[in-house]
Amino acid sequence: MATKEVLIEVKNLKKHFKISKNSVLKAVDNVSFNIYKGETLGLVGESGCGKTTCGKTVMGLYEATEGEVIYDGVNIHKFNNREKKEFAKKAQIIFQDPYSSLNPRMTVGDIIGEGIDIHSLYKGKEREEKIFELLETVGLNREHVSRFPHEFSGGQRQRIGIARALAIEPDFIVCDEPISALDVSIQAQVVNLLIELQRKRGLTYLFIAHDLSMIKHISDRVGVMYLGSMVEFTTSENLYKKPLHPYTQALLSAIPIPDPKEEKVKKRIPIDGEIPSPINSPPGCKFASRCKHAMEICTKEVPEFIEVEKEHFVSCHMIRK
């Protein structure tokens, strides 16, 4: 592999929400990773594990409680308003729900053109041409420009969302579960489109999803999150071949395989119970309460996030170098 240029560096990122005087929700707690230029970084985890909050904090939609997000050498959380606007040109987001993320009172043309207007990139005829071009890039037609979101199906709406994100030619796109609201056959269409766009434009994606098989398909490297912390981080090949953290192992074994024979012989590693509340979580490893291998130390000390082998980070007391 050629030398990889780091686009975004996330250092000890924390995002805590204060709920009341004494309770704090630690949505993202001490997460560090970096994203290389032109790669797709996947984030997986159960709902409520802080994937989305992490994505939004990384692109500056939330203020970080602590820690830094360094984009191209600059900390994005130190930006003033003008710089923030400049940064928005480089980083965009595609939202999970194609039904609620498009303004129902705006035409498709205006939705896509909004970013172009805000950053005054193109005007008049040029703007119109740009919008047509974007629509065609995502597989829609010119005639769709004057239609409203309700006239489109879920897959088409998600394409509009993608066109909107592409409108100001960003380098980095956060895809927040862009396919989870879509049908299987439409999911494949949207994922193919995202991969194709990445090849053509050299985009960098932070791809958030709970569908592990899709994450494996699209990502170069994957981070597994549990209750606000990153428990394992490695290349997608590695993660699926030799997952080290007990949570990753259980998560992988829970994926239903569309193959009855394999499904019969497969051993599922059960995890009992459900993800505990992130409010005032106990000290120690956050997975300890559901972990089969939990030891005494697990409930006392937070395991370090160590590099076990090249490009393979795990945070678990069981795994020592």
Partner: protein
């Protein structure tokens, strides 16, 4: 082979099918048509709105033709079931003549994309479709359950069956529980209504049910409200409600769609275990083929209100005969597939059921489409006792070049 020949016989008699109709029509150029489909041209839109206004004034007439035969004893069966649903934009033919059966203690999966009529089928069996707006079955529709045609029962009779003998788990556990009632009361309610038990006795059953669906600390949970439960727990509570009266048939409408994989695995295991324990017949409605692989005995693939293929799990997964089934199987990324290779994807979207297509509903998205596919609905070809498929590719005269081998292999038993 016999059935295939007899199919051809029928065609010959009808004269409308000629050999040149089996010429391949490429999918190229149809893409645009398919993408444009939901939104017609401007004038067609105006016409549609005009029509719908008239309809609205006259009063919405909803038509359904359902012929679903369900019978239990040995089984529950459905027969030629159609459903039309009319809205301001016209009449939607949501289920267009399907028939199937469910054996006692069996798990039948209905698979298909959103809008293909899965949920409508499920709700029709339960008698939950809104009455004046929807019409089930003109004439011969039947849903036979234990020898009774459910479509002929009145509301009072139906409510004796609903919840007691046939019950349903809904898709969204967040919205389908009553937020103002304690979980225990919601479970006890159906027991109380369907038996002669006292309130106290039915509460005891509710407690047992909560323990059965493995909710920890059931005694405390009994007195809690739905908002105090997490998504997975609510779905468990729903299952407890559905199974409280020990029904013969359980209809699970996308029971795990709203849940995480880990919880999904727990819930599916639970349903499978309870099914064995209580010998309940389960109709599992889902769009996730992975979920189906582990629990279903038989699978029916639905597309645009029709069953396009059915068979046992192994037949559907290893020996699919319909291009749509194959497409569904291929568009799921495999864990061992190559990284970032282009996924197989269907072009376009499912057809509009307000104006359902003549001929095969899948024709517009099918790579192997022929002229005939757009003109006439294919006959059903059967491949084994359990596997049937409606597709013109299985006609003798079909153009088979470039069609994946698995689709056209005949006669042999799959995989094994």
């Amino acid at each position: 082979m016999n059935s295939l020949e007899s199919n051809v016989e029928v065609l010959k008699n009808e004269m409308t099918v000629t050999d040149d109709m089996f010429e391949r029509v490429g999918i190229k150029g149809l893409d645009d048509e398919a993408i444009n489909k939901p939104s017609l041209t401007y004038w067609a839109d105006v016409w549609r709105r005009f029509k719908s206004n008239k309809l609205a004034i006259v009063g919405l007439v909803l038509l359904i033709f359902v012929v679903l035969t369900i019978y239990i004893g040995p089984s529950l069966s459905g027969k030629d079931y159609q459903y039309m649903d009319s809205s301001a934009t016209g009449t939607a033919y949501a289920v267009r003549g399907i028939d199937f059966y469910l054996n006692k203690g069996e798990n039948l999966a209905i698979v298909g994309e959103s809008g293909c009529g899965k949920t409508v089928t499920a709700k029709a069996i339960m008698g939950l479709l809104p009455k004046p707006q929807s019409v089930i079955g003109e004439g011969g529709s039947e849903i036979n359950f234990k020898g009774k045609n459910l479509l002929h029962l009145d509301e009072a009779e139906m409510s004796k069956i609903r919840g007691k003998e046939i019950s349903m788990i809904f898709q969204d556990p967040m919205t389908s529980l009553n937020p103002t009632m304690k979980i225990g009361d919601q479970i006890a309610e159906s027991v109380f209504l369907h038996s002669n038990m006292s309130h106290r006795e039915s509460r005891n059953i509710a407690l047992k049910m909560l323990e059965l669906v493995r909710i920890p600390n059931a005694k405390v949970r009994l007195n809690q409200y739905p908002f105090e439960f997490s998504g997975g727990m609510r779905q468990r509570a729903m299952i407890a409600i559905a199974l409280a009266c020990n029904p013969n048939v359980l209809i699970a409408d996308e029971p795990t769609t709203a849940l995480d994989v880990t919880i999904q695995a727990q819930i599916m295991d639970l349903i499978a275990d309870l099914q064995k324990e209580l010998n309940t017949g389960v109709i599992l409605v889902t769009h996730d083929l992975g979920v189906v692989a582990s629990v279903a005995d038989r699978i029916q693939v639905m597309y645009a209100g029709k069953i396009v293929e059915r068979g046992t799990v192994d037949e559907i997964f290893y020996n699919p005969k319909h291009p749509y089934t194959l497409a569904l199987l291929n568009s799921v990324p495999k864990l061992n597939s190559n990284h970032k290779e282009t996924l197989y994807s269907l072009t376009g979207t499912p057809p509009d059921l307000i104006n359902p297509p003549v001929g095969c509903p899948f024709a517009a998205r099918c790579e192997h489409g022929m002229k005939i596919c757009r003109v006439k609905h294919p006959e059903t070809t059967s491949f084994s006792k359990t596997q049937e498929c409606s597709c013109w590719l299985h006609d003798k005269r079909a153009e088979l070049s470039g069609v994946p081998e698995v689709l056209v292999k005949r006669g042999e038993v799959c995989g094994y």
